[in-house]
């Protein structure tokens, strides 16, 4: 039997992405329209955000620029999920129709094979918008800049995206048991919107929910405290990279358990 290590998967993945981008370019109209749609969607989100802060200079002690920081941070953290894990949105349809079986027939990891199928370029728009917003608020807030802080930023962004991916993996995997409906995915996406606000502004029930049940507080609130409240950093902030890795692994195991549970609907 052949051994298939990390290098093998990286090589295959790059090839698939290359082919996928090539083929996407052939659907030019779709490519242009969907990118345009993404820009409009993000702009609408931002304008709402901006309008709110025209009326309230601060929310629960958080300034407009600080809120922008959370916003930009969460957009960047969203990018890997949008770019690399978008196929989760199509899982339910493939399980329902029985087409999912094709992922079980190759001598490679099922999760990898499934996820590798789509690379969504639209995510790069999120990244651009996120970096612009984050950089603007960074300058406005006069946060000191050093190599160390950049490193912490990258590690925290990485952990934050692992939380987002993990949430969506689990939400997608629900369909392995229920077969119908993508309600869990829609539900999870709704909650993503809350990730851009500091959880301190919510009541106790929601705070508990967003920290321990659907951990969106780790997407921007906890990791951003390093930069916004450097004098008072809670333990959960330091632990968030570790918890992020563990949470992602948990979501992977749930997804794979679901795939094993799958028994090929239809003939």
């Amino acid at each position: 039997m052949h051994k298939r290590g990390l290098l093998f998967y990286v090589k295959i993945y790059l090839k698939i992405i290359k082919q996928d981008i090539k083929s996407k370019m052939t659907y030019r109209a779709d490519f242009i329209i969907s990118n345009f749609g993404m820009i409009i969607q993000q702009a609408a989100g931002f304008i709402t955000f901006w309008l709110i802060f025209q009326n309230f200079p601060s929310v629960a002690g958080w300034k407009y620029e600080e809120m922008l920081f959370f916003y930009g941070f969460s957009l960047i953290a969203l990018t890997p999920m949008q770019c690399f894990f978008d196929n989760n949105w199509f899982l339910q349809q493939k399980v329902y129709s029985g087409d999912f079986i094709k992922y079980c027939l190759r001598p490679i990891n099922i999760f990898f094979y499934f996820i590798s199928e789509i690379f969504d370029l639209k995510g790069l728009g999120l990244l651009t918008a996120g970096i612009a917003i984050l950089a603007y608020s960074w300058v406005q807030l006069e946060i000191a800049f050093s190599f160390l802080i950049l490193l912490i930023l990258i590690v925290n962004l990485f952990a934050a995206s692992l939380f987002l991916i993990g949430i969506m993996n689990i939400a997608a995997a629900v369909c392995f048991w229920t077969v119908t409906g993508e309600i869990a995915m829609v539900f999870a996406q709704q909650f993503q919107g809350y990730a851009r606000y500091p959880i301190a502004i919510f009541n106790r029930v929601l705070r508990f929910l967003f920290t321990f049940i659907i951990p969106i507080a780790f997407v921007s609130y906890y990791p951003s405290l390093v930069f916004l409240r450097p004098d008072n950093i809670p333990l959960l902030t330091w632990l968030s990279p570790l918890i992020g890795v563990l949470f992602f692994m948990l979501s992977y195991f749930i997804w794979m358990k679901g795939a094993k549970n799958y028994n090929g609907t239809g003939s």
């Binding site: 090589k11 028994n263 090929g264």
Partner: protein
């Protein structure tokens, strides 16, 4: 003699909910634990030798696909044992996947947006096929069929026939020991069917690949296989050479008669040893006006009915 596939008393049960009727019933079902157990495959055993061409024949829902899914490692049997090339498929899915190729008719496994040649190149990497082996296989393909119109065409633009051909080519690419073909000719017209059968036969001859084919169309088995296993409602009814089967059914034809336009065809099973199709036709025509006729081979359902009636011993 060495065996490539062994099934020992294999069973597969599914649990399904007993559904009630109506909206109220659907609501009650939400809380119901009233399961019904379905035996998709029921205590089936057989052995297959390397290079053999075996047809699994049975009507829809007979358990053929379930059997294929168990042999390809997707499903775990609820009872019994399976070995494919010495590997237990459901316990070692990836290792088993290297030795087998699987084709599901009407359900492509190729990358939808990519030209076929790019799918082949990805498969070459995934299965770690050596350059020389890959080139040899491509040479063989080119000697059997005209690859020209296929290679640079994205799979999504292909006709069903082209896609099935492509899927079969892809399944043989890594030179597997066994290829499972699940209803490969379903929905195809006669000329494409025969092209696909030709391709399968050539590949089997050249590479000595074991072929397991499921179908509900007896003419597939007739054209491709030397051995037939008949399954109905999860049970094995018959397992013997095709010749033995044909001794009993070779002389049977299904005569389909249309009496009125837009009405349903009426089937007559004719045993040509007793009465020729022409005689039967005259007999019918004497009583009723005929609009159109078709002559087909005996249907799988009729074969199964005959077996139940005790018309044949295995």
């Amino acid at each position: 003699m060495k065996k490539i596939i062994t099934l020992k008393n294999v069973s597969k049960e599914y649990k399904t909910l007993n559904r009630r009727e109506g909206l109220r019933g659907s609501f009650l079902d939400l809380f119901s634990r009233n399961y019904k157990i379905i035996n998709a495959v029921n205590d089936i055993s057989f052995e297959i030798k390397p290079g053999e061409k075996v047809g699994l024949l049975g009507p829809n829902g007979a358990g053929k696909s379930t059997a294929i899914k168990m042999m390809s490692g997707v499903l775990k049997p609820t009872g019994g044992e399976i070995f494919v090339n010495g590997v237990i498929p459901y316990e070692n899915r990836t290792k088993n996947a290297e030795n087998i190729g699987v084709v599901f008719g009407q359900r492509t496994q190729l990358w939808w947006a990519l030209p076929l040649i790019e799918s082949f190149k990805l498969l070459k990497d995934i299965y770690m096929i050596k350059n020389a082996d890959y080139d040899n296989m491509m040479e063989l393909y080119k000697s059997i069929i005209d690859l020209g119109p296929l290679l640079n065409k994205p799979v999504r633009q292909m006709s069903l026939g082209q896609r099935t051909l492509s899927d079969i080519l892809a399944s043989f690419l890594h030179n597997p020991k066994v290829v499972f073909l699940d209803e490969p000719t379903i929905g195809l017209d006669v000329s494409v069917k025969s092209k696909i059968r030709e391709l399968i036969l050539e590949l089997n001859k050249n590479k000595n690949t074991t072929i397991i084919l499921t179908t509900h169309d007896i003419s597939d088995i007739d054209a491709l296989c030397e051995r037939a296993i008949i399954i109905d409602k999860g049970n094995k009814l018959y397992d013997n050479s095709l010749e033995n089967l044909k001794k009993f059914f070779g002389s049977y034809r299904t005569l389909k008669v249309l009496f009125k336009k837009n009405e349903e065809w009426v089937d007559y099973l004719v045993n040509e040893d007793e009465q020729s199709v022409m005689q039967k036709l005259n007999e019918i025509a004497a009583q009723k006006k005929i609009v159109d006729i078709k002559i087909e081979e005996i249907s799988t359902e009729d074969v199964i009915k005959k077996i139940y009636d005790g018309g044949i011993n295995d």
